[in-house]
């Protein structure tokens, strides 16, 4: 964020300045009373060629909250997540309908610079993917790309980011070693450090713990709680207990089968406080999924 309360997602063409939404701007009863809306998703449909992968999703992602997306395979949760930082742009046939407003700015507005979007909205993937570089260079990569050159500044960012990812104490004496030499859990925390080094506002996590053992998973989950006061986190997880443990709100997606084409389309069934979803969900389909009566 460039200034307090003001955000810019363009660095080409006219800059769009956006004031943070006020509580009174809330477009629905569930908005803003609990926190600023970062993403306002309206009637979102995502197509891959002629095939509609997700249909008419509506939800708000709130600032400094952890939002979990759960649902069976093919329900569109990762597809929706990837819309938040325009990762679907890399898929030629992908097309988005509806709107995703990020602090009031349409993310898919042609004036919006998708690279800047990805700087503000970082991503951590299922498989830890450190660059084949040193631990230091992994974290310094983003800031260097952004133009940071002074060693003292870079040192500072690297330390801050590694501390932020709860990895500093484990690697501070071997920053020149390859990131690929770390354990799986450490590599994933390195990726989180790399994501937060460019000072994003949002971190998207696509099944960040599915390749990790339970202890490494617990570390990442703890880390998420620690950093959520600074970031807004959206996590896709196959592990319902993980969603229950870490998230403030949960969105449950499922699939609908088109009887004619036999193709499956993802739909957002229910979006509510996590404690509600896992104690007394409002939709029968959510109930059946979380209790394991449907899969």
């Amino acid at each position: 964020m460039t200034e307090q309360g003001v955000t810019s997602v363009t660095d080409q063409g006219p800059t769009i300045r956006i004031d943070e939404p006020r509580a009174g701007d809330a477009p629905s009863e569930t908005t803003a009373v609990d926190g600023h809306v970062v993403f306002d998703v309206r009637d979102l449909s995502v197509y891959y060629g002629p095939f509609r992968a997700v249909r008419d999703a509506n939800l708000h992602i709130r600032q400094h909250e952890i939002t979990a997306f759960i649902g069976p395979s093919g329900c569109g949760k990762t597809t929706v997540l990837r819309c938040f930082n325009r990762m679907n742009d890399f898929i030629e046939t992908a097309r988005v309908e509806g709107t995703i407003n990020y602090h009031g700015v349409d993310l898919y507005d042609p004036q919006v610079n998708s690279t800047e979007v990805r700087r503000r909205i970082g991503m951590v993937f299922q498989k830890p993917n450190p660059f084949p570089k040193s631990i230091y260079d992994n974290v310094a990569y983003g800031p260097r790309l952004a133009g940071m050159k002074k060693k003292a500044e870079l040192d500072d960012v690297v330390e801050k980011s590694l501390r932020g990812a709860a990895l500093w104490d484990e690697v501070k004496d071997r920053l020149k070693n390859s990131g690929l030499g770390l354990s799986g859990g450490q590599q994933q925390r390195l990726c989180i450090a790399r994501a937060i080094a460019v000072d994003p506002e949002v971190i998207l996590m696509d099944e960040p713990c599915s390749a990790l053992d339970p202890i490494a998973t617990a570390r990442i989950e703890d880390l998420m709680q620690e950093i959520k006061s600074k970031f807004t986190i959206v996590i896709v997880t196959h592990n319902m207990q993980q969603a229950a443990r870490v998230s403030d709100r949960t969105a449950f997606f499922t699939t609908e089968v088109n009887p004619e084409s036999d193709r499956r389309t993802g739909v957002l069934v229910e979006y509510d406080l996590t404690k509600k979803i896992f104690s007394n969900p409002g939709d029968e389909r959510t109930e059946q999924y979380v209790t394991g009566r449907f899969g």
């Binding site: 703890d222 709680q225 870490v246 403030d248 104690s279 007394n280 209790t291 009566r293 449907f294 899969g295």
Partner: protein, 251 residues
């Protein structure tokens, strides 16, 4: 639709069935305890009192079974409410069985004393009403019927009324010299036992409503308290709990 986690759901069903079995034993024992009291059936009293150990053992097993389900299966949503409700309901059933023992012990204490027809009539009606309450509560549990469960609370007021009538009849009987003070006290306590069995049935009904809807009657009191503290500025009497901040809750 594919049924997943079948073993776990069978496990849950077994826990539910066990609660129903234990509650059925209590329901059937209510008329027996009443007969013990009215007929001075000392053997029957012994049978019910000895049987309580078995209820205790089975209730303990069921409670441990529930803890196992919680620890191993991490139930959520309706399943979670059901397991939590079972741990509460089993305590209600176990306590009701204790109260039936107490009725039998009272029957031993007043053995040989004649009771007048009015007292006997009200005792019989209290027994019948307590049994009906228990029946309705357990039926509502078996059928997951929140409306039937809510009716148990209304049915209980009739039993409460019988208790009041009975206490009045005890006074009259004692004043007329038909029962001595010791018997009068025992009978008053017996009336209280029936009334408490009814209350336990009501509590079971409330837990059934919780399983079906997630609602508990205490929500009403909590809402009144919130209104008084928020709107009228009433100061809570209990020091606030120092709950961890959500952000620090995972330390």
């Amino acid at each position: 639709m594919d049924e997943l986690r079948r073993t776990y759901h069978d496990d849950l069903s077994q826990a539910k069935d066990e609660l129903v079995r234990l509650a059925a034993v209590v329901t059937e024992s209510i008329p027996r305890a009443t007969a013990v009291l009215l007929d001075g059936d000392l053997e029957g009293a012994d049978y019910i009192i000895r049987g309580d150990d078995e209820i205790d053992a089975r209730a303990l097993d069921l409670e441990e079974h529930c803890y196992q389900i919680l620890a191993l299966q991490a139930p959520v949503a309706t399943d979670l409410r059901q397991v939590v409700a079972l741990t509460k309901m089993v305590a209600e059933v176990e306590r009701s069985a204790d109260l039936l023992c107490n009725i039998c012990k009272a029957a031993r204490r007043i053995y040989g004393h004649e009771l007048d027809p009015k007292l006997r009539g009200i005792i019989a009606r209290m027994g019948e009403q307590a049994q009906q309450l228990y029946d309705a509560a357990i039926e509502s549990f078996v059928e997951n019927d929140a409306a039937k469960a809510a009716a148990v609370d209304d049915m209980d007021s009739y039993l409460d009324g019988l208790q009041k009538q009975f206490v009045q009849a005890i006074f009259e009987s004692h004043a007329a010299g038909r029962i001595d003070l010791q018997v009068a006290v025992q009978l008053a306590v017996v009336a209280r036992f029936y009334e408490r069995i009814g209350d336990h049935a009501v509590n079971i009904g409330e837990r059934v409503r919780f399983v079906v809807t997630g609602w508990l009657p205490e929500h009403k009191g909590a809402a009144r308290f919130k209104y008084r503290t928020d709107v009228t500025g009433e100061i809570p009497r209990i020091p606030a709990a120092s709950l961890p901040d959500a952000a620090d809750g995972h330390d």
